[in-house]
C-alpha cells in the first residue's frame, strides 16, 4: 500500500492510501464527533455530524466516509464546521423524544453527549417528532422505541453484517423513513434471534433490552421468596466497566458481595452449570461418535454443534430448520442451572420449589427469550424466573447504593457455586470447545490434553472461524474405536460466521466432528447484554480477563469440579441418564424465515 501526505489542522501527516479522514485524524489525537459510524460496521455516512472542511471545497465532507487524499488540507474545527454540526445535532433533537430523564440510556447516550457538547438550543427548531409512536414491547428480549431513533442504521448494519439475520431494515422514505421489521410486524413475530447486538450498537435508547429487574427487587423484598442469583462467566469481566473500573478488570469477588448486600438469599455460579454442560455435551458427542463409527448408525448427525448460545439456537431454527439434528440437545448452562435450582437445590436445602425465584444474570439478551420458552419448565416450575443483562445488574448495584469499588471480595455460596477454569472460559469464543476437549480427551485417554498448561491456543483468538485437529492416541480400552482418529473441531462466533459454517454443513461438505457456535462477536464477553460501548479492543480485553480467571482457578477441568462429581453421585446418576435427559436436555423447532 502506498502512503499519502496530507495536512490536518495544520499538522502534516502521512497515512496509508484509503484511510478515511476520520481515522487519519485519530492518529494525531484529533477527535471528530460521530454518530452513525461504528468501528464494527461498514461505513454509512448518513448522520453528517462528522463533517470537516477540505480547503478549496465549498461543501463539507463526512470524514467517516471520505478517504484522505494526497495534499488535502483539512480543518476539523472552524466556525463553519461548528455551525454545521450544531445544526445537524439540533435537527436530530428536533425529531427526537427528548425525555432523557426517563430514558434507559440516560447518561450513556451518544446523542445526549453531542447535544450537551454543542449546547443545542431546543427551541431553535420546532418539534417534528411523529405523534403517537408506540413502543414495540412484544419481544421477551428487545424493546424498540422509534421516538428515540436517530435513523443512523447502525442496527440495520449490525443485523445484516455481523449477524446475517436481516431482521431490521430502513423502510419508507422522506419524513416517514424509519427502521422496520419485515412488514412492520411485531418483533416477536419476525426472524430476530434476540441476540441484542443491535442494542449494543445503538447509540441511543431506541433499542433496549426488555427489563425485568423490578420483578427481581420485588422478589428480594418478599420474605416468602427464596431468591437464587447466578451469574454467567462473562459478567464478571465486564460488569466493572459500568462501575468505575478499567475495561478488562475482573470483579468476581465484589460482584458476589454486591449480590449478597442486595439481599439475594443465595449467590451461585452459572459456571457450575457450564461445567455440567461440558459433562453432558461431551458425553453426547462421544455417544454420537460411537454410534457413527462403531454401530454404523447413519441417522446420527455429525458434526454435533453446541447449543448454549440461545441467539444461535433461534438462528438455526429460523435459517436451517432441516438441520436441527446437528444441535446438541443440551440446554444452555442458564437453563440447566434453573432446572436444578428447582429440584436438586430445593431438595438439598429443604425448600419448596414454588418459593424459589431463580434469577440469571447474563451477558445476553437472547437468554431472556430462552428463559420464557414454554418448554423450559421440566421441573414443573419455570427453570428461570428472570433473566437480567449485565447492564440491568449494574444498574441494580447503583440503585442499591453500594460503593462497588470499595466492596470486599467474597465467595459464591454452595451448593452449585463451585466451578472450574473450564467453566469460566465458556464466556469467550472458543471456550466451550477448549473446555470440552480438556474433559473429553481426559475421559478417552486418561491423560490431560497435550498442551502446555492445558491451554488449547489453536481454538482461542478472534478470527471469525477457527479450526483445529487433535489426534487421539493411546485410548483407554473402552474408547478403542477412537484410536488414531483425528478429531476435527471448529469454532465460529457472530451469526455471520455461523451461517458460513452452516452452509458447509447443509451442503454436506463439513468434515468436522464438533463445532462451537456463539451468536455474538467474541462470544458471551461481546454479548448483547454487556456494557455499552463495545468494539474489538474492548472485547479483546474482556477475553484476556477470562483467560486470567481460568489460570487463577485451582481446578481447570470440568469433570474434576467436586460439586459436579457430587451431583452425579447424589442426584443425576450418570451423564445422559434419565434424570439428565428429563431436566438438562431439550428439543428445537422450525421457525419462519422473515
Amino acid at each position: 500500500m502506498s502512503k499519502i501526505k496530507l495536512t490536518i489542522d495544520s499538522q502534516l501527516i502521512e497515512v496509508e492510501q484509503g484511510v478515511t479522514i476520520l481515522d487519519a485524524a485519530k492518529m494525531i489525537n484529533v477527535n471528530i464527533p460521530t454518530l452513525c459510524h461504528h468501528e464494527d460496521l461498514c461505513v454509512s455516512g448518513n448522520c453528517r455530524v462528522c463533517v470537516v472542511e477540505v480547503a478549496g471545497r465549498e461543501r463539507l465532507e463526512a470524514s467517516c466516509a471520505t478517504p484522505a487524499e494526497e495534499g488535502m488540507d483539512i480543518l476539523t474545527n472552524s466556525a463553519k464546521i461548528r455551525n454545521a454540526r450544531k445544526d445537524v445535532v439540533s435537527l436530530l433533537v428536533s425529531e427526537h423524544n427528548t425525555q432523557c430523564t426517563t430514558c434507559y440510556r440516560n447518561t450513556n447516550c451518544e446523542l445526549q453527549d453531542l447535544a450537551a457538547e454543542y449546547n443545542v438550543d431546543g427551541d431553535k427548531y420546532m418539534s417534528v417528532l411523529k405523534p403517537n409512536i408506540e413502543i414495540d414491547k412484544s419481544s421477551w428480549s428487545i424493546e424498540k422505541d422509534d421516538s428515540k431513533c436517530i435513523r443512523c442504521q447502525r442496527c440495520v448494519r449490525t443485523c445484516a453484517e455481523l449477524q446475517h439475520v436481516n431482521a431490521l431494515t430502513a423502510s419508507h422514505k422522506g419524513h416517514e423513513m424509519k427502521i422496520s421489521t419485515f412488514m412492520d410486524l411485531p418483533f416477536n413475530e419476525v426472524v430476530c434471534t434476540n441476540c441484542g447486538q443491535c442494542v449494543n450498537h445503538c447509540p441511543t435508547g431506541a433499542l433496549t433490552e426488555r427489563r425485568y429487574f423490578d420483578n427481581v427487587w420485588e422478589a428480594i423484598g418478599d420474605p416468602d421468596k427464596h431468591v437464587v442469583m447466578n451469574t454467567a462467566p462473562s459478567v464478571r469481566v465486564a460488569l466493572g466497566e459500568m462501575l468505575g473500573f478499567e475495561v478488562g478488570t475482573r470483579v468476581t469477588g465484589k460482584m458476589v458481595t454486591a449480590m449478597r448486600k442486595m439481599g439475594a438469599d443465595s449467590i451461585l455460579d452459572t459456571d457450575f452449570s457450564a461445567d455440567l454442560t461440558i459433562i453432558e455435551e461431551g458425553n453426547e458427542l462421544l455417544t454420537r461418535l460411537k454410534k457413527a463409527l462403531v454401530d454404523g448408525d447413519t441417522s446420527v448427525k455429525l458434526p454435533m454443534i453446541t447449543s448454549c448460545s440461545p441467539g444461535w439456537v433461534k438462528f438455526i431454527e429460523h435459517m436451517f430448520p432441516e438441520h436441527l439434528g446437528h444441535l446438541s440437545t443440551c440446554k444452555s448452562p442458564q437453563q440447566m442451572f434453573g432446572a436444578l435450582t428447582k429440584t436438586y437445590y430445593a431438595e438439598q436445602k429443604g425448600l419448596d420449589p414454588k418459593d424459589i425465584v431463580s434469577v440469571a444474570i447474563m451477558p445476553c439478551a437472547a437468554k431472556k427469550y430462552e428463559a420464557n420458552r414454554p418448554e423450559m419448565n421440566d421441573s414443573g416450575y419455570r427453570d428461570i424466573d428472570a433473566g437480567l443483562t449485565t447492564r440491568e445488574f449494574g444498574l441494580m448495584i447503583k440503585q442499591a447504593g453500594l460503593d462497588f469499588k470499595n466492596l470486599e471480595d467474597s465467595d459464591f455460596d454452595s451448593i452449585m457455586g463451585e466451578s472450574s477454569g473450564a467453566g469460566v472460559i465458556f464466556g469467550a469464543t472458543g471456550g466451550v470447545m477448549e473446555a470440552a476437549l480438556r474433559t473429553a480427551y481426559a475421559v478417552v485417554t486418561g491423560r490431560d490434553v497435550p498442551f502446555e498448561n492445558l491451554n488449547i491456543t489453536a481454538v482461542r483468538g478472534t478470527e471469525g472461524i477457527r479450526n483445529a485437529s487433535i489426534k487421539i492416541e493411546d485410548c483407554l480400552p473402552e474408547w478403542n474405536f477412537l484410536e488414531g482418529v483425528d478429531l476435527n473441531v471448529a469454532v465460529a462466533h457472530g451469526l455471520k460466521n455461523a451461517r458460513i459454517i452452516m452452509d458447509e454443513v447443509a451442503a454436506g461438505k463439513s468434515n468436522y466432528h464438533f463445532i462451537e457456535v456463539m451468536g455474538c462477536p467474541g462470544g458471551c464477553i461481546g454479548g448483547g447484554g454487556q456494557p455499552i460501548p463495545t468494539n474489538a479492543e474492548i472485547r479483546a480485553k474482556r477475553i484476556e480477563a477470562i483467560y486470567e480467571e481460568d489460570m487463577s482457578k485451582p481446578i481447570r477441568k470440568s469433570h474434576e469440579n467436586p460439586e459436579i462429581v457430587k451431583i452425579y453421585k447424589e442426584f443425576l446418576g450418570e451423564p445422559l441418564g434419565e434424570k439428565s435427559h428429563h431436566l438438562l436436555h431439550t428439543h428445537y423447532r422450525k421457525r419462519n424465515r422473515y
Binding site: 454545521a84 431494515t169 416517514e176
Partner: protein, 387 residues
Amino acid sequence: MSNTKLKKVDIIFSPYSVAPYEILRWMMEKDKQDIIDNLIESGLRGRGGAGFPTGLKWKFMASEQGDEKYIICNADEGEPGTFKDRKLLVEVPRKVISGMAIAAFATNSTKGYIYLRAEYNSLIPSLKRELDVYHEYAAKFGLDFTIEIFSGAGAYVCGEETALIESMEGKRGEPRNKPPYPIQNGYKGKPTLVNNVETLASVSMVCRYGAEKYKSYGTDDQRGSKLFSLSGDSLKEGVHELELGMKISDFVEEFGDGDTKAVQIGGVAGFCIPRKKFHETVIGEGNTTGGATMIFNSSRSMYNVLHNYLDFFAEESCGQCTPCRVGTQQLLKGIEAVKSGDKPIAYLDDLVKLSRTMKITSKCGLGQSVTNSFSSIVENFKEEMHH
C-alpha cells in the same frame, strides 16, 4: 460571446436520415480516442442535471480496466413536470441507443441497461422492438454489447446515479458516498458510466454532425442545444429544443402569457428567477438547466409554489441523512409557522441559513440543492411568505 437570442432548433428530434445504426458503424471505423476527443471538443455537458462534461466522463471511463464495464442510460425522469426523456424514447429511441452503443465502443464496455422510470413501463414493448433492431445491427458490426431494460423503483431519488445503482442491485434506493464514483465502482462494483437519455441522444448528434457544427450552437460556456420541459402559465407547454445561452427575458417573451412574474429553471432543484432579474439572467449560467422549466404569472402565490416544492422534498428525500430528512421538514413547517404568524418574519432568515447548512452537509444532490429554490423564492418573494 456571452449570450444569444432565443433560437429554436430542430436537430434532436429530426427524422432518421441514414440507415439504422449507420452512425455506430461510422464510429466503429474510427479511433476510440478520437471519438472521445471529438466529444470533449463539442463541449457537450450532461443533461441529467449536474452538467458534467460528457467527453471527460467518457475519458475516465475508458481508462478504467475491467472484464465487465456497464453503461446505464438514466431514464428515471422522476421530477414532476418533466417529459423530455420520455419524448426522446418514444420518438427517436434509435438516437439514444446509438449513443449507448458508441459509448460502449469508445470505452470498451460490455453491457448496457436502460433504467426506465416505473411509470414509463408502457414504453417497454416499443423499446424492445427497437432493441431487437439494434442487436441485429450490433451483431452485424461485430459489437459485443447488449442492452437490457430495467424497470425503475419509482422514487425520485432513484434518478440519482448511485441510488439508481443501489436499486438495480435490489437494494433500497439510497445514494452512496462519493468517492468512489460509479465510474470507479458502480453497478455490482464494476466501472459504470451513467448518462442521461438526452445526453446520449445528443452524443449521436455530435457524432452525426461533428463537434464543429454542434459547437456552433450556444455560447462559449454552454454548447449546443437543449430540451426544455415547459409547464405552468404558458400557452406553449411541452418540450422545446432551444439553443443554449439565452436571457430569461427572451424566454419569457416567447413562452410567457404576458403576465409572468417568475420563472423556475432547473426544476425543483433549480432557481426561481423574479421578474426584476429577467434581463440580467442567462439560462444555464450560475444556474442549472435540468428538470422542468416553470413559468408563473402574477396570479400565483409563491408561498404555495414553495410549499409544493418542500412537500415534494420532504417526501422524496430518501431519508437517510439528517440534514435532508429533517431539514426539509423544518423548512416546510417553518414557512407554515411564519405564514400563520406563529413565528416572526425573521425566522425566514434562520431557515435560509438552515438550507445553506443542508447544502454543505447533505449526502447527495437532493438535499444539497434544496437551498436553490428555497432561498431564491424566500428572498425574492419575502412579502408573500407572511400574512
